[in-house]
Structures are given as structure tokens and as C-alpha cells.
Symmetry: C2
Subunit: 109 residues, 2 copies
DNA sequence: TATATTAATCGTAATATTGCAATGTATAAA
DNA sequence: TTTATACATTGCAATATTACGATTAATATA
């Protein structure tokens, strides 16, 4: 069917999947890395930094914004984006808990 | 279109995206969590544990195996799956480095 | 006001993903 | 050797994602 059966999973499982999904495209990884590197807000030169068309970047930014990982602020004709530090920290806790599960001493296979 | 322009991104960006993508579905999150919980290997009762059809689970397991995050071992008629601890650790390092970037003191927007 | 600049939105083509019924394959047990 | 069990594979329908040209909306500047 093309759509995940989210109703059979826990809220946490769905939340982890949603966060992971947004990181599941190199353009969004690159956008976030750039925002971290620049630290101070960045505007539409993401289009130059990354080699994708403006509507494509805009679309990726929207997904990051929808999940609350970045903020966008209109400044004149341009828009200033930056990491939403509070939400990033919350997301990080969720993901770390998932990634940091105790490993068995030896693999069974 | 419909496919990511991986060639314009770094190997690391693509690697992060690939790992994240596989975590981007709640069924695979649930499978991994179950494998961690059971610790000792698990076989096809993942189908009972999670509420999806056998071919669907098999497909998700294949993706996890392709990325090297789990191992599968044939034991008679059943197959025993478990976390690939070595690769899990490597993946974790890559993801932690991405998630753990230094946040600015204050958001700019 | 007219024009330029910046970015969001719309529409669409190409491709990927999800889920499952049906079927195939391999091993174990009778 | 037949039958049962456990998984993998195939094929397909429904939906999602990616990318971008064209357009729109909003603001700044001449």
C-alpha cells in the first residue's frame, strides 16, 4: 500500500521513525550540518552551498521545520534559518536512547 | 526524479542518510528493539510480535541485513537473527557525531 | 508606483517504499 | 518419500518521495 501501519506501533517507535526519516536524505543532513557550522543564521545561500534547485531546498527546509528541528525567520526579502536548539536536544535524547541500547557480550550467530 | 542526487553530497552525508533511512520505519525500529530486548537470537516470531505479514517482516529484515546491522543464521527450518554488534557500534559512532554537534548558546530567530 | 529580489507553493514526472497474496525453497519429521 | 514448517522471493497495487519549472507572494529599492 505504500503507507506505514503506524497504528500498530508505539508512539515512541513512530517518533523515532519520524526523526530518522527526516535525516534519511543527504540534502537534509547537509542543510543541518551547514546550519551547525555557520551557527549564526543562514538564508537562501543554502541553494548555492548545496547543488539543488531553490524549490527543492525550500521543500527540505519545510520538512525540517515541520518536525521542529529548525526555525525560520523572515528578514526583509530573505529568510533566516537556524537550529531549534530546544527541540534538537529533545530529539537527540530520543535517538540516543534508541541507539545506545545495551549490546550482548557476543553475537549469537 | 524520485531519487536522491547522492553524487553531490559527501560520503559521510550519504552514509548518515542511509543509516537514518533504515530507522525511518517503525517496523524496523520495533524489530531492532525486540532483538535488543531478547538479546539471545530471535527467529520468525517477529511476525507474531509485530503485526505485519511474513513477507513484509522478511523484507524489513533484509534491509537491516543489507546495511549490516543484523545477522541471520539458518538453524534447521528457522532463521535466527541478531544484532551485528560490531557494525552497530560503528553506525552508532557515525550517528552520534552527527547528532552531537555543538549547539549555539542561543537561537538566532 | 514599477521593478528587482527572495523564497514559498503548485503541478507534474520519475522513482522509491510499503504491504501482502501467491509461490518457491530448504530442511525436518513422519 | 511424503508432508509440514519456516522463510525468502516475486509480482503487483497503493502511496510517498524527490526534483524542478513555472508561478505566486512579499518585501525592498529605484
Amino acid at each position: 500500500m505504500g503507507l506505514a501501519k503506524t497504528e500498530i506501533f508505539t508512539n515512541l517507535q513512530n517518533e523515532i521513525a519520524l526523526f530518522a526519516k527526516v535525516f534519511g536524505h543527504p540534502a537534509r543532513v547537509a542543510i543541518l550540518q551547514h546550519l551547525f557550522k555557520i551557527n549564526t543564521c543562514i538564508c537562501g545561500d543554502l541553494v548555492n552551498e548545496i547543488g539543488l534547485a531553490q524549490p527543492t531546498i525550500s521543500q527540505h527546509l519545510k520538512e525540517l521545520k515541520t518536525l521542529g528541528l529548525i526555525k525560520g525567520n523572515v528578514e526583509g526579502t530573505s529568510v533566516c534559518y537556524c537550529i531549534n536548539t530546544e527541540n534538537w536536544t529533545k530529539m537527540k535524547e530520543v535517538m540516543l536512547q534508541f541507539l545506545d541500547q545495551d549490546l550482548p557480550k557476543t553475537d549469537c550467530c
